[in-house]
């Protein structure tokens, strides 16, 4: 096979077990002509190097800078996001939800791990794990504290449980004091977590 399965990193026995199990599965499927290892390489490369949260950050920065784009994003997020070149798997049906001074949005998939891959890439481990999936809907403020997000008690929290095929992108509030920044500089303030709702956009660097 053209790819390397050398394991020069540290991991425990359980992961070795999974490494062996996945390798065996790939070998069987390859021998049977059901999967092509080079296709797997290409999938991995896509999500390691091409599709990730910088995509979503560009969408948010554009929305902050351009009211027409922001309106388009509200009305038809799938098309507005596609106009920046971000389409495809687990982003086929997008919705953008905008934080306001009154309301903070938080996205979860309590039933599996639905996540807007086309704009955020693959979900982090915590997003797919039981602690977040169980608590986001019942104790979002407690969850946010663990991300060092402390919202005023009167701030309303809206939790979006991604139970269907709509995928949600949170548009965080634009930080104050960013009037002079370029779209590119603004995008650098948009973290992955701020687009899930477990973070806020970064404050601009103050020398």
């Amino acid at each position: 096979m053209p790819h390397a399965h050398d394991h020069d990193h540290d991991h425990d026995n359980d992961l070795d077990h999974m490494a062996a199990r996945v390798r065996a599965l790939e070998i069987i499927l390859t021998q049977k002509g059901l999967v092509e290892p080079a296709a797997i390489d290409a999938i991995v490369d896509t999500y390691e190097t091409k599709v990730g949260p910088r995509n979503g950050a560009k969408v948010v920065a554009r929305a902050w800078c351009d009211p027409d784009y922001s309106n388009w994003l509200k009305q038809d997020a799938t098309a507005a996001i596609a106009s920046l070149g971000f389409t495809g798997r687990q982003g086929e049906h997008m919705q953008a939800v905008f934080n306001t001074e009154d309301t903070h949005n938080l996205v979860v998939c309590t039933l599996c791990s639905c996540y807007p891959w086309s704009v955020l890439g693959l979900p982090p481990v915590w997003y797919k794990a039981p602690a977040y999936r169980s608590r986001a809907v019942i104790d979002p403020r407690g969850v946010l504290e663990e991300f060092d997000v402390d919202l005023p008690a009167q701030t309303k929290i809206r939790v979006w449980d991604s139970t269907a095929e709509l995928r949600y992108l949170v548009v965080p509030l634009r930080p104050k004091g960013t009037e002079g920044l370029s779209e590119e500089e603004l995008a650098a303030l948009v973290t992955r977590d701020s687009m899930i709702g477990t973070g806020l956009a970064l404050e601009p660097y103050q020398p």
Binding site: L15, W160, S162
Partner: protein, 219 residues
């Protein structure tokens, strides 16, 4: 089904513990697990709904003890056997032993970029008019099925308000079982926190789910 996947409001799983500067993958095998799952799915033998149901049918003790990529791989082994592509003996021996089912298609490396960029939209036309409109009060049905469903337990039998009509989408409750796409209207339904969590709810909380029309009744 009321399986291990239905986590909303469950307790005892501890802190979320986000990892700073988390890498995309934590081990080489996770990369192959992602790729082999997507490549096998691209054969077109099962739907995303069937694959989700295979994952939630893992024994709860197994589900909760597994990382998400482990869950994927365990469910993939089930799907491959169910559809005749591999046998239990092959999985045990780690090599191909018999011919097995042939796929409709296989994913070629040269096609990966186009296939991922296209995705698999699951919106479908629905001939009947939408039963509800934004602002309508609805109550979610209270049902318990061993089949696949996307109405979480915490949101069953609850009063909510339609916030948006999202369009027609494949109905996972039948599609997961090879019983057809049967598209229905999907709505975003918003619930007040206290409607779901009662007297201990955060007073400033609202929760929404995206619900297929047959999950809902007028209220």
């Amino acid at each position: 089904m009321n399986g291990p996947q239905d986590l909303g409001g469950q307790m005892g799983f501890g802190a979320v513990a986000p990892e700073r500067d988390e890498p995309v993958f934590h081990a080489e095998w996770e990369k192959r697990a992602l790729g082999v799952t997507l490549a096998a799915g691209a054969m077109g033998a099962w739907t995303i709904d069937e694959s989700r149901h295979a994952r939630e049918c893992l024994h709860p003790a197994d589900y909760y003890a597994s990382s998400y990529y482990e869950i994927w791989i365990k469910a993939l082994a089930v799907l491959l056997q169910r559809h005749g592509f591999v046998t239990a003996d092959e999985l045990a021996e780690g090599r191909a032993l018999v011919e097995g089912a042939r796929p409709k298609r296989t994913l070629k490396a040269a096609d990966v970029a186009a296939v991922l960029a296209k995705g698999a939209p699951c919106d479908r036309p629905v001939s009947a008019p939408a039963r509800f409109k934004a602002g309508d009060r609805v109550r979610t049905r209270n049902f318990h099925t061993e089949d696949h469903t996307r109405l979480p337990r915490y949101a069953r039998g609850k009063l909510g308000v339609i916030e948006a009509v999202r369009g027609g989408f494949v109905f996972p409750d039948t599609n997961a079982h090879g019983k057809g796409e049967n598209p229905q209207w999907v709505y975003t339904v918003v619930f007040e926190g206290h409607e779901i969590w009662g007297e201990t709810s955060d007073p400033a909380l609202t929760v929404s789910v995206d619900a297929w029309e047959s999950y809902l009744e007028p209220a």
